[in-house]
Amino acid sequence: MMKKSEPAPVRTERTRGRPRIRRWQAEFPYHWDADDQVSRRELLRFTVMASGALFVATAGIAALSYLNPLRTIRRQAIAKTTDIPPGGASYFHYPTSEDEAILLHLPNGRFVAFSGKCTHLSCAVYYDPASGNLRCPCHDGVFDAQTGSPLAGPPQRSLPKITLQQEGTTLYAVEEEPQ
């Protein structure tokens, strides 16, 4: 390390015998060896201010969530129960026309629906009746048809489940809930 030398005197110009303080010296009156230092107190003050800003932002998001929730419950008729035999599948779009989804009629008679996008790289999954699982053709991802949880391949997260409602013989997709 370089040894610090004696601090250089503040440069002033002498005009008619009097030292003239330059404008920058008046506006920034820091000693040269102190101007690169931030005191602990200043750091603490800055930290508390940043903490306040983060608190305000978090509280703002919480208030926004209370006043203007993003979640909108959408109901969409997707199929008739009589149209899908046990062990069969039906493909539909939910919640938007660009989101693929899959409805399964499980061998035990239960209906389940999942998002059709693989949680690895968003390829479209399909139902494989032979294995009774959902498969992704891109990287051989396999999902459990009952729960949507990953069984094999690169996917690590479950397929988002779509809640179903049945009225008579009509099945409705009600909302999409991330798992």
Binding site: K3, D33, R41, L44, R45, T47, L54, T58, I61, T72
Partner: protein, 93 residues
């Protein structure tokens, strides 16, 4: 600073404040904990945003409450330091 006393202007007098001898580590640890808490607050903010975008705002008030407690704690520390600055006189000043 190289340990020698130089005349400093009034605006830099706060850098001459030093914690009592032997308590420098305590002060630095306090600062480190404060910065760590700031990181936790940042994490709480990102979690709140994530929950908001996922449409799950049920427990978001809890995140805001924890963040607020950290902020109030910081304010209390500042207030405490303002009341008890513990100035150590500079030698040879």
């Amino acid at each position: 600073m190289n340990g020698r006393a130089y005349p400093l202007t009034e605006t830099t007098s706060d850098i001459e404040r030093r914690p009592p001898l032997g308590q420098v580590a305590v002060v630095l640890m306090g600062l480190a904990i404060g910065i760590l808490l700031l990181g936790i607050q940042l994490w709480l903010l990102t979690t709140a945003l994530d929950l908001y975008l996922a449409g799950q705002g049920t427990y978001m008030w809890l995140l805001a409450l924890i963040s607020g407690l950290v902020f109030v704690g910081g304010l209390l520390v500042l207030r405490m330091l303002a009341r008890h600055p513990h100035l150590t006189p500079r030698r040879g000043g």
